[in-house]
């Protein structure tokens, strides 16, 4: 590989190196956490799609829009909380069993979706 001469190519080289290191570091993450990350990404992208849709057609059934978007945000937030609690490297929650964390997650989701269904119509 030729040594970069200009500063812009050196910046892109650095960025490439950064991404490569991030990818290698992330590949060491446990599969459980990767699944949670995928789930969060899915929820956030659904929320973004709805915001774009609302900007296009207007905010008429505003309660439906709010419940749609809040269900996505709420799901993402709850999933992130679960991820914090089941992460083995997080010493703060080392006394909390992952089963207990998951039970909390399920209960919160049930409450969230109950509220969302009531507010949707």
């Amino acid at each position: 590989m030729v040594k970069p001469s200009s500063s812009s190519s050196s910046t892109s080289q650095d960025a490439l190196a950064l991404i490569n290191s991030l990818r290698s570091a992330y590949s060491a993450t446990p599969t459980t956490l990767k699944i949670i990350d995928l789930y969060v990404g899915f929820a956030v992208s659904t929320a973004i799609i709805q915001v774009v849709y609302m900007a296009l057609v207007g905010s008429f059934p505003f309660n439906s829009f709010l419940s749609g978007i809040l269900s996505c945000i709420g799901t993402a937030v709850l999933a992130v909380c679960l991820r914090i609690q089941v992460n083995k490297e997080n010493k703060e929650f080392k006394d909390l069993a992952p089963e207990r964390a998951f039970a909390d997650f399920v209960l919160c989701n049930l409450v969230l979706h109950l509220v969302i269904m009531n507010f949707l119509g």
């Binding site: 789930y39 059934p61 829009f65 978007i69």
Partner: protein, 433 residues
Amino acid sequence: MLKLLAFLTLSLPFLTHSFSPDHPTDRRVLVLLDDLAIKSSHSLFFKTLQSRGFELDFKLADDPKIGLQRYGQYTYDALILFSPTVDRFGGSIDLAAILDFVDTGHDLIIAADTNASDLIRQISVECGVDFDEDPSAMVIDHMSYAVSDTEGDHTLIASDDFIKSDVILGSKKIEAPVLFKGIGHTINSENSLVLKVLSASPSAYSANPKSKLSSPPLLIGSAISLVSVVQARNNARVLISGSLSMFSDRFFRSEVQKAGSADKHEKSANEQFLTELSKWVFHERGHLKAVNVRHHKIDEADEPAIYRINDDVEYSVEIYEWHGKSWEPYVADDVQVQFYMMSPYVLKTLSTDKKGHYFTAFKVPDVYGVFQFKVEYDRLGYTSVSLSKQIPVRPFRHNEYDRFIPAAYPYYGAAFTMMTGFFIFTVVHLYNK
């Protein structure tokens, strides 16, 4: 005998012709005179009334037996006061009785003259008309007097300054001037119900013609009204004239030439003017009635007890004008209906089929509450039409909203996707060990 009595009692309402909502022209008229000679000296005016079917009852103003009502019922539909000098009426008639008579919707013609009594002035003031306070004053006009053989003092005025209203003065144009000799009056500017029908010319003034003018006259120019009419809020009509002689046969027959004008008219316009005006005062013209006020939803025939917001409503009313003998369709393009709750939410001009039927359709506003359909129609010379009908408007019921809104399908989809996602995630998370 008993049968006959019963028949008479039952048929009595149909035998008497009197003022009624269905037949608004007056029938029985009481004429109060200073002097029975007026009956013959003003016979032409009385004859025009009698030929139109009025029953005139001539009485001296101080006759002790006269009265407007008997057993609480008015025995007359209209009153003509040709008694300018009377200080006290005989019988039970006084200022309050005459005002009550007008307040109950009856009509009145007052002819004052120089030396008009305080009683006549008081009645006029109550109608919104102030006669010149100087008892000997007359309207003098050195520019538009009526030319006569003797030069005179120019108190015989030829006036042609009429109100521009076909309904008050009839559709036929008045060509000749009207002769007037008497006292002038002003109308109270705060009283919107009084109308100047015949005004003096700008060069007229009101003063005593026999004495020299020592100070500027108080009433001058076209502020002086010679003949005025009042239509009260209850549609009672009052005619006030400052001259009794303008009703006389002599003035009716007299030829007239206005000073400074070359054309000489065979006959003054007094007869035409006063006949047309008396038709108006006695409700032979300009009397409107509104019937068959209906409203309903479009495509329905029955009137509902309540409307819902955003309903489509049709409103219709029939308006007729009384023409002395029959009700004719009233034709106008400016009748409006309001859908009113504290302020008009909807104001629409009604369409008409030229046969008296007025109709329109509109959408009930997106506001609920107690509304009124209102028609407030006030036009110069016509009786006022004031209709209001109350109707409540309710919001949508819970089951009247759309269950699913197409625009919200993406949001529904997102919410259910999140639930499915949660379920799949749970399975994956639990079994991925």
